[in-house]
């Protein structure tokens, strides 16, 4: 069944979009990521103009993370205070990102920059997580107690001033890295159309040493607001948010997210991390191949000042 997208100005298949939403929603519920890092590349592979894919991806992420966050509120695995501080940084970063987005689009380098960012970030994060989680899995299998970082072991981040207590996360840490992390993720959110969960989750775990179970809910909480802000700004400055497209993705996504969250509960932390790492790496490799393989069309057209 075809449907005409009012903003993207093309006809697409409803069922492809629903299925895409459901698949990504499942993974998003399972890993506590918004799914934007999957949705945006998928939309681009489906011939949606990148600028619209990014803005609409951000819109879709709100639904799946809102749905996912509700589950975590119920289970009490959401640190509102930590999420709030991350969010404050996120708004600042997102605003900066919107400007860079517009600038790169005028230069004609937006697509390249998006791909490069995806490859570098997903590759690094995925690689690090994979190594760590495989080590943890091996340790568990050999019978040794899982060696999480000893509670007394602190890195430089924990020596910064302006400390704040986050009770739900059992954390006493400076707000500087928290704000900085939020800002960095806000920036990526507006340029890549992602919520930033795939960076946020490992950063909270490895840098701030937040317990894994709280990380996912808190990350989702922050993602809701960062992507809501990104959606608003893209809608007002670029008019690139397609609600019709977003709604189809969401409808599939929220259904998938609930099943995914359930599936995620049955897996242990390090298994979950290993799987997420593999997924992240797969997307990075797929995008990296596109950068190096000779494109079928060397030439591309774009309007002046349009998408």
């Amino acid at each position: 069944m075809g449907i005409y997208l009012p903003i993207a100005e093309i006809s697409v298949n409803v069922f492809v979009l629903l299925a895409m939403g459901a698949a990504v929603g499942f993974l998003s519920g399972m890993f506590g990521v918004g799914g934007g890092f999957l949705i945006t590349p998928l939309l681009i592979f489906y011939n949606i103009p990148p600028a619209i894919a990014v803005a609409t991806g951000a819109n879709q992420v709100i639904a799946s993370s809102f749905s996912g966050a509700l589950s975590h509120v119920k289970r009490g695995t959401l640190d509102f205070k930590l999420g709030g501080v991350l969010l404050a940084g996120g708004i600042v970063g997102s605003t900066g990102g919107i400007f860079v987005f517009g600038f790169l689009r005028r230069l004609g380098q937006l697509d390249l920059f998006i791909s490069l960012l995806y490859v570098v970030l997903l590759g690094t994060v995925g690689g690090l997580m994979l190594v760590e989680s495989v080590n943890a899995l091996r340790a568990t299998r050999s019978g040794a107690a899982p060696v999480l970082k000893k509670s007394g072991q602190h890195n430089w981040i924990h020596r910064l001033p302006l400390k704040m207590r986050f009770r739900a996360s059992k954390l006493f840490v400076s707000v500087i890295p928290v704000l900085g992390l939020g800002a960095g993720i806000g920036f990526l959110s507006s340029i890549m159309g992602v919520g930033g969960g795939f960076i946020m989750v490992p950063a909270l775990i490895y840098l701030l040493k937040v317990p894994t179970n709280v990380v996912i809910g808190t990350s989702l909480f922050q993602i809701i607001f960062t992507s809501a802000y990104t959606t608003l700004v893209h809608a007002t400055t670029n008019q690139t948010v397609d609600v019709m497209l977003a709604f189809l993705l969401m409808a599939g996504g929220v259904a998938g997210a609930q099943y995914g969250a359930k599936a995620g509960q049955r897996l242990r932390g390090e298994q979950l991390r290993a799987l997420l790492a593999l997924l992240v790496l797969a997307v990075a490799i797929r995008l990296a191949i596109d950068l190096f393989v000779t494109p079928p069309n060397l030439y591309s057209l774009s309007g002046v000042g349009l998408t």
Partner: protein
């Protein structure tokens, strides 16, 4: 051979004289008219491309020429003109990057052609060039005239190739059919991604390879119904539209959880 040709010429001359003895000195000039049944076409949610039929009439047609099929008609539906940037990817350190680019002013977004016969059989390349007729003969004005002709040539060709590949520039050979001696029907293709705006339909009449007359009409392509409303709101009330998009997402997330909850 020469004798045969002379004989044929004489034969046709006498036939001509026999058919229209009075008009031999001042034959009325042929004229072409096209009419559109509507001045606008609306694109709705299900739009996945369509054929647009344009009817036209040929006035004062010479019955003999018509019978011999020496009248040819080319109908063009030309979309609104917009500036376009063409970019070329080149390899830098193994990665394909947009490097060179060329901006063209006023490139028709779409250009659908329907003809009675293949373009090369209707008239010669020079006539097409003079009339600026056919996607291959459209003149694309580069924004920067200082670029080398070879570069401009290369990017112009790439622009046409991309437009053709996406279905925006199309050619429908045999898309113009004579229904009677004076009446014809042209079928031009509207691509699924046909741009909205004012399109211009033009019909060109050729007689034995010579251009005779042109006729044109305007056609407005617009979005209709629900999609049109969404598009207008997104541009005119973009902030409210953004708020709506965010609210819709949250509502969907909440409802989705109510319906599909698993815990």
């Amino acid at each position: 051979m020469a004798g045969l040709r002379a004989f044929l010429a004489v034969a046709s001359l006498s036939l001509f004289a026999a058919v229209s003895p009075g008009e031999a000195q001042t034959p009325a000039a042929e004229n072409i008219q096209i009419g559109l049944s509507t001045d606008h076409v609306s694109i709705t949610a299900g739009f996945s491309g369509a054929d647009l039929t344009i009817f036209g009439s040929l006035e004062n047609a010479d019955p003999l020429v018509a019978r011999q099929g020496r009248y040819d008609i080319i109908v063009v539906l030309e979309g609104p003109a917009r500036p376009v940037v063409v970019r070329r990817k080149d390899r830098v350190l193994g990665i394909w990057i947009n490097l060179e680019s060329e901006t063209f002013e006023n490139v028709p977004v779409s250009y659908s052609v329907a003809t009675t016969r293949p373009l090369q059989d209707v008239t010669d390349p020079n006539s097409y060039k003079q009339l600026s007729l056919g996607a291959a003969n459209l003149y694309m004005q580069p924004a920067d005239d200082d670029d080398s002709p070879a570069t401009i040539e290369e990017f112009t060709a790439a622009l046409r190739e991309r437009k053709t590949a996406t279905g925006l520039y199309s050619e429908n050979v045999g898309g113009v059919q004579f229904l009677s001696q004076n009446l014809f029907r042209a079928t031009v293709r509207l691509a699924p991604n046909v741009p909205v705006g004012t399109h211009k339909a033009r019909a060109f009449l050729f007689k034995s390879g010579l251009f005779i007359k042109e006729s044109s009409a305007q056609l407005e392509i617009r979005k209709s119904g629900f999609e049109q409303s969404i598009f207008r709101v997104a541009h005119d009330y973009s902030f409210l539209y953004g708020i709506f998009a965010v609210s819709l997402a949250m509502l969907t997330g909440w409802l989705g959880r109510l319906v599909f909850r698993k815990d």
